[in-house]
């Protein structure tokens, strides 16, 4: 029952081979197995969006996928898309700048999930309206800002 299973996953471009317990969620594997702690664990029931990561190009809830299911997949986390915080080094650099300028974060707990979700929206729908943004971010909870600044940052 408590056996571990071998998986091979490409995380942020690097292929890692590990053994995982089948019951370990993807986000726990990222945090505890790979020490990628940018993906946050909020509700563990798919509601808050803090654990949002990309698997094979699609955003998913890291708490609602098991690590074992990602065997053979390509996983991207906030560490992978954010780069070093210097212009030109990360996919979400412009969004990060806009979040900072608009004061779209306070504690920052929700921000990695917000950035990945916003990036997914903007990739599909450049020039998204405020309504589009609110709908797209409706599955990502922020307990600090009241969302207005976040929507403004994504629009910027």
């Amino acid at each position: 029952m408590d056996e571990t299973v071998p998986i091979s996953v490409t995380v942020n471009g690097v292929t890692v081979d590990r053994r995982v317990e089948p019951r370990q969620t993807l986000v726990d594997f990222l945090r505890y197995g790979l020490e990628l702690t940018g993906s946050h664990v909020g509700c563990e029931q798919g509601v808050c969006g803090a654990c949002t990561v990309r698997v094979d190009g699609a955003i998913v809830r890291g708490c609602l996928m098991l690590a074992v299911q990602c065997d053979g997949s390509r996983v991207e986390t906030i560490e992978g898309v954010a780069g070093s915080g210097v212009a030109g080094t990360g996919e979400v650099f412009d969004l990060q700048q806009a979040f900072a300028q608009e004061n779209a974060l306070q504690c920052g707990f929700c921000t990695p999930g917000m950035l990945l979700t916003a990036q997914d929206l903007l990739a599909r729908k450049p020039g998204a309206s405020s309504q589009d943004i609110r709908e797209a971010l409706s599955g990502n909870y922020c307990r600090c800002t009241g969302y207005h600044a976040i929507v403004e940052a994504v629009r910027a």
Binding site: M1, D2, P22, T25, G46, A58, L64, D120, S138
Partner: protein, 284 residues
């Protein structure tokens, strides 16, 4: 919390999956998209001895047009349904409902078969399937069978599935000339569970409703067909008076429960509001 320990199987064929389900009996659970099961595991509301992951079984996903209608494989993700030109053309009601299913990061994983087998009373897809007279395809160790959607959903999280059986596909008859469909829903926020949802398909000839299917979600243990309201529409033009009359007929069709999200009276009110909006859309 974290899930209890369980054995994990990733069968490569449907037969292998069925054999595993037979072996584990009620202690085995199918893992499809996992968007309902994994939260239940995390909260320890479910503690199966084994998960049978059907994500890698070839042939369980995909959308195709067959003589019986539009066939959507059980492992087809909500996102794929949402983006499918075939679904938009042949079962537009289902396409219209998809954006209401959770959030993008849920629809990228959640599956058609999972929604059907889960039978959440607030779920959009079961209501659409009942409205469309769709058929659920099921496989078991004893063979394959089909069940009309109207008989498949038996109660809250309860279906016609026998232990060990697996949903393999849903089949929706292709929409016919003259029929118009519309899905609408009211929730506190986009992506939240429906307070009330309404799947509608009507035959409109010369502005007059000649056929009507009104199926609600979120107002009963299963999708609820509003037959009295349907009858109030037949042979009529869907203007404001007819809409109000059909809305009054809903009182006898629906018996919604109250919960922390909405009282029975609010759900009744919202059902009438939705019906009015849907009819305005159908009439337009």
């Amino acid at each position: 919390m974290k899930p209890v320990q369980f054995a994990y199987h990733r069968p490569a064929s449907l037969d292998e999956a069925l054999a595993l389900m037979e072996r584990y009996g009620p202690d085995g659970r199918i893992l499809a998209g996992g968007q309902s099961l994994v939260p239940a595991l995390n909260m320890r509301l479910a503690a199966p001895a084994a998960l049978v992951d059907i994500n890698r079984i070839p042939g369980l996903d995909g959308i195709s047009l067959e003589p019986e209608g539009l066939v959507i494989g059980a492992m087809t993700r909500h996102e794929a349904v949402e983006n499918s030109p075939l679904v938009a053309r042949h079962a537009p009601l289902i396409a219209q409902a998809m954006p209401y299913v959770g959030h993008r990061a849920i629809r990228s994983r959640g599956t058609v078969g999972g929604s059907v087998a889960q039978a959440d009373p607030a779920a959009e897809l079961p209501a659409c399937l009942v409205a469309l007279d769709a058929v659920i395809r099921v496989a078991g160790t004893g063979g394959k069978r089909e069940t009309p959607a109207a008989r498949f959903f038996r109660g809250i999280y309860t279906t016609d599935l026998a232990p060990g059986e697996i949903v393999t596909a849903v089949v929706a008859p292709s929409i016919q000339a003259g029929w118009r469909s519309h899905f609408a829903e009211l929730a506190r926020r986009q992506g939240d569970y429906a307070l009330v949802g309404l799947a509608t398909q009507c035959l409109v000839e010369g502005g007059v409703i000649k056929g009507a299917r009104l199926v609600f979600c979120g107002v009963g243990p299963t999708p609820v067909r509003a037959q009295r309201a349907e009858a109030a529409l037949l042979g009529r033009r869907p203007d404001a008076d007819v809409s109000a009359e059909a809305g009054r007929a809903l009182d006898a069709d629906l018996d919604p429960q109250g919960d922390v999200h909405a009282s029975p009276a609010l759900r009744r009110h919202l059902s009438r509001v939705l019906l009015g909006r849907v009819l305005a859309h159908i009439a337009a």
